[in-house]
């Protein structure tokens, strides 16, 4: 049962991908989409069945990839509560977003290839979470990176989108190098990357080696989960279609870094220095994301920075050992962030591609359904009880309180900021006067509303999935409500009234700082890309001659070595036979020596 179920989970999206790719030209367009939805639904059902029926964890051997000398790689499926829960979440949320995309993308010319990529993404994500070795995980890791690249640049005719895709690809490769470095270390020390071997033998290594290995893993996680300093690709990744942002850049792929840290927590627990860095990076990212999100004007960018901030929450939680809290927040975040993105997609869809929140407003009456689900999503993300975000944030804050007061306070401040920018977004979009001009906003089709409704329910009740054990619930409850009321009130005061918001834009220095995302892109441009380019230009100028010389010299020396051999190849069959004869004579002489 378990074997069959797990193989079916992996096989469904893969078969879907191949069917849609191979039959893409033959199939009528909606059929390709439905096929993709059915395959993900099939994966969800099989993963769900296994989750419900199997109590124990197990490893299902699939096949030996290779066994060369003492280095070996086996592919097996790791079935435990973590991997099962992740796969149910991926296929569940993924399936809903697939259905939503049916409506959202229905006019696109390349609908079939969109769904093919989507299915492939789900497959690689499942490979990532179900592998029982770092090597298998790495394959999934690269696969989701590839799909993310393809989907960010899905509308590649627009130059900026293609650039965004390339940026995401390059940033992720930097992270992947770190991951690859860790894998090579494992292969060097143990000849295998199986979790079962690595986690048992890992602590036997010296602290220095373990720190280096976990640093490699951390760099990988930082790249994938858009943490400081490799985060700049995530806001740009919003260039992709909104379902892509919801599935890949909010709910699943970007949480892979958190999964990686949580999965290899045995190693991290042996490397306190790395753990400290994880906490530091996570908290810094949480603060940074929240600050920048305060002033953004693009509805998807606000959500993107909020995703970054929430990922910072999870990463720091994983850093101070609150793995279950981090994973719990990851789950609820998948629900409400997917919900928010899809609702934002509804708004964008309804306004024919408008993404600037200062050109929205008053949509509450035009898009009542979207407003309700967006409100639910907002309440969930700001941590209003009894919505799901409250419980997961509470779990993280409780652990943070036990770990360090400073971290706790900072995370609380981030929480306040997040409620402010989310209410700002809500009020600017749905309240106040209508600023969208002559457009006629309309609700999306039924296929777009049903997934939203389901996600709204999940975002509401998701909190009961995992009740925090040690809770500081009661004091936090009061504080949260007060903070929520305050920040909501302030946001309403500023953005909710029927005023011309554009006129009220404060143009202080701090604002400009935030608006330009602390100039990080510019700083990278200045201190990394710029010098790199001028260095390359310099190298090009001065070293090209040198390299050219080197090339010539090496080629010449190769020629020199090859000269007698080349002489032997003069085209005359007599020479060839002579060479053979001399060779034979040498062999025979060798015998006598």
């Amino acid at each position: 049962m378990m074997l069959f179920g797990m193989i079916a989970t992996l096989a469904f999206p893969l078969i879907g991908f191949f069917l849609i790719t191979l039959l893409g030209r033959v199939l009528p367009r909606p059929v390709g989409g439905w096929l993709a939805c059915v395959s993900v639904a099939g994966a969800f059902i099989s993963a769900g069945t296994v989750l419900l029926t199997c109590e124990s964890s197990a490893t299902i051997g699939l096949f030996n990839w290779f066994e060369v000398g003492n280095v070996s790689a086996h592919f097996s499926i790791l079935v435990d509560s973590l991997s099962l829960w992740m796969s149910v979440m991926i296929t569940g949320v993924g399936g809903l977003i697939h259905v939503y995309a049916l409506g959202y993308m229905k006019d696109d010319v390349r609908l079939n290839s969109f769904f093919a990529y989507f299915n492939l993404f789900v497959f690689f994500m499942l490979v990532l979470v179900l592998s029982d070795s770092f090597l298998g995980m790495f394959i999934g890791w690269e696969g989701v990176g590839l799909c993310s690249y393809l989907l960010i640049g899905f509308w590649y005719e627009t130059h900026a989108y293609a650039i965004a895709a390339k940026k995401a690809f390059v940033m992720n490769r930097i992270g992947d190098l770190g991951f690859l470095f860790a894998i090579l270390m494992m292969l060097f020390f143990w000849g295998t990357t199986q979790f079962s071997v690595v986690f048992i033998q890992g602590l036997g290594l010296g602290a220095g080696v373990l720190t280096a290995m976990t640093m490699g893993l951390l760099i990988g996680a930082v790249g994938k989960s858009a943490q400081i300093p490799l985060f700049t690709w995530l806001p740009d990744a919003m260039a992709g279609p909104t379902p892509v942002s919801a599935l890949i850049h909010a709910a699943t792929m970007v949480t892979a870094g958190v999964y990686l840290i949580a999965r290899s927590h045995v190693l991290f627990s042996g490397a306190p220095l790395t753990s400290l860095m994880v906490v530091g990076l996570g908290v810094a990212t949480a603060v940074f994301g929240a600050l920048v999100a305060l002033v953004q004007r693009d509805i998807k960018k606000v959500l993107a920075y909020s995703t970054m901030s929430q990922l910072g929450y999870m990463v720091s939680a994983a850093g101070f050992g609150a793995y279950s809290a981090a994973l719990f927040h990851m789950t609820t975040h998948a629900f409400f962030k997917a919900l928010l993105f899809l609702a934002a997609g509804n708004v964008i869809h309804g306004l024919h591609g408008e993404q600037d929140i200062f050109k929205m407003g008053g949509l509450r009456k035009k898009l009542p359904f979207t407003f309700v689900v967006f409100l639910i999503g907002t309440l969930a993300i700001v941590g209003c009880p009894p919505f799901s975000g409250f419980f997961s944030k509470d779990a993280i804050l409780a652990e943070a309180f036990a770990y360090s007061r400073t971290v706790f306070v900072v995370l609380c401040v981030v929480s306040v900021m997040s409620s402010f920018y989310m209410f700002r977004l809500l009020f600017l979009t749905f309240f106040g006067n209508a600023r969208y001009g002559e457009k006629h906003p309309h609700e999306g089709a039924l296929v777009m509303q049903i997934p939203l409704a389901i996600l709204a329910v999940l975002a509401t009740v998701g909190g009961c999935l995992d009740w925090p054990q040690e809770s500081i619930l009661t004091p936090v409850l009061g504080v949260t409500l007060v903070v929520l009321a305050l920040s909501g009130g302030v946001a309403y005061f500023i953005f909710g009234k029927q005023v011309d918001v554009l006129a009220k834009q404060p143009v202080s220095m701090g604002y400009r700082m935030l608006w330009n995302k602390f100039y990080v892109d510019e700083v990278y441009q200045r201190i990394i890309v710029g010098p790199f380019l001028s260095l390359s230009r310099g190298l090009n100028q001065y070293f090209e001659i040198f390299l050219g010389k080197l090339d010539v010299v090496s080629l010449r020396s190769v020629r020199w070595v090859g000269y007698p051999f080349k002489k032997m190849q003069d085209g005359n069959s007599g020479t060839y036979i002579l060479v053979m004869t001399v060779g034979i004579l040498c062999l025979l002489v060798g015998l006598f020596l």
Partner: protein
């Protein structure tokens, strides 16, 4: 024995091809025959007589050879019908099948006379096939050179066999250890004769000229088939001969072979010559596996041979497709290939990367196995030479990878015939299969 009988019958059918009714059935019957020929091994496995021994080695190497010829038969069949709508070249196909029968025999002998016969059954059709493009002078020249050198090499092999007989009184290897100088000299001459087929320095001179002159479809097929067959035969030989006789000599030949191959490959502008020299280098790597013969040698040489065959077939298929689109087989002909046909470019890149030994392609595992073998031999000088040679190989192969993505000479898209498409798809599937399931080949021995 079934496999050889089936192939012979298929060859005769092919010879009569033009006259037979139901010509449409020729290709299916041939491919079915290949499948049956391989299944035939299972019915008599293992069979040891005084002339033949059909064991695991013959089954595995034979299987690889049947796959090589199967794919080539498909592309050659398509080639004939693609050009001017003429008949498929049945004679060429028949000769290819006969040569394969020789190849199968080369890994299934136990009597030295059978080895000689196998080499000749493989070689004689090859002489004809290499010269089968009668209108090209290069093809004839290649045929002439291959014939002359091949005949001399056969004589050397035979003289070695006669000396071995004179020294030991037997035609069975390993039955008697050659204590005498005469017997040892015989062993060396026989190894030289087989090394000629494998393209090992100093018996390599025919390789670049013949590869360049032969029709490209034939070049790819014979490069793969002959290398696998020759190394299969060598595997069978060296296992039952005492290392002290040939060890040092073979080490010298291996070092010379890989160095010469790589050094000359760097300087080539013609694709077919470049690949010929790189093929020589690969023969050098494969020779390293016998220094000394251990329990992993057979696995390594088998896996290396299979991955080399796969890469070579892919590369030459692409070159043939390029030539059909009106370009000569130079490195520059690759320019702009990516814009002209993406599937063909994919096959090209995968095959070249595999030959260069980039993970996770099968060529990487093959090279890794060879390196591990050299490491185990505890010979640091040899290790460094091998490693340097790998690096030189990566250098010129990467040049080949970059060219398809640069600006092109020609912009028109490359059109494939149906059978060529089938061949390309099969090669792609096999390559991906080898990426995903290398253990399938690694664990047979």
């Amino acid at each position: 024995m079934y496999s050889i009988i089936i192939l012979t019958v298929l060859g005769i059918i092919g010879m009569l091809g033009d006259m037979l009714p139901l010509k449409r059935l020729f290709l299916p019957v041939t491919l079915l025959g290949f499948a049956l020929a391989w299944l035939g091994y299972f019915f008599e496995f293992p069979m040891h007589t005084s002339l033949f021994s059909f064991d695991l080695i013959s089954m595995c190497f034979g299987g690889v050879m049947l796959v090589i010829t199967g794919i080539s038969v498909i592309t050659v069949y398509g080639y004939g019908s693609f050009k001017h709508g003429s008949e498929p070249p049945y004679t060429v196909l028949a000769l290819m099948i006969f040569a394969t029968a020789g190849g199968l025999l080369m890994v299934a002998w136990s009597h030295l006379m059978m080895l000689f016969l196998a080499i000749e059954i493989l070689s004689i059709p090859l002489y004809v096939l290499v010269g089968s493009q009668g209108d090209r002078k290069a093809s004839q020249e290649a045929s002439l050179k291959y014939f002359l050198l091949g005949a001399v090499a056969s004589c050397i092999f035979l003289f070695g066999m006669a000396l071995y007989y004179a020294g030991t009184g037997s035609f069975l290897l390993g039955a008697v250890h050659p204590h005498s100088l005469v017997g040892s000299a015989g062993v060396l001459l026989m190894i030289a004769g087989v090394c000629f087929k494998a393209g090992v320095v100093p018996f390599h001179s025919w390789v670049p000229d013949v590869y360049e002159g032969a029709p490209t479809v034939i070049t790819g097929w014979m490069a793969a088939l002959v290398k696998v067959a020759a190394f299969g035969a060598l595997t069978k030989m060296v296992g039952s001969l005492s290392y002290s006789v040939w060890g040092l000599e073979v080490m010298g030949m291996a070092v010379l072979t890989m160095t010469l191959g790589n050094v000359l490959a760097v300087q080539q502008g013609s694709l077919k010559r470049l690949l010929a020299y790189s093929g020589i280098a690969h023969a050098g790597y494969m020779l390293l596996v016998f220094l000394p013969v251990t329990e992993t040698s057979i696995t390594t040489v088998f896996f290396y041979g299979a991955s080399y065959a796969l890469g070579t077939l892919g590369v030459f298929t692409v070159i043939h497709i390029l030539e059909q689109s009106g370009l000569s087989a130079t490195v520059d002909a690759l320019r702009g290939l990516f814009k002209r046909n993406k599937t063909v470019t994919l096959l090209w890149c995968l095959s070249v990367l595999s030959l260069a030994g980039i993970p996770p392609l099968p060529g990487f595992f093959a090279k890794l196995l060879v390196l591990m073998h050299v490491v185990k031999a505890h010979h640091s000088g040899l290790l460094w030479v091998t490693f340097l040679n790998f690096l030189v190989g990566v250098y010129y192969y990467f040049r080949l990878i970059l060219y398809p993505f640069t600006g092109g000479l020609s912009e028109e898209s490359v059109v494939l015939s149906v059978w060529q498409k089938v061949g390309v798809v099969i090669l792609l599937i096999l390559t991906w299969g080898a990426v995903l399931f290398p253990e399938f080949l690694l664990s047979v021995f």
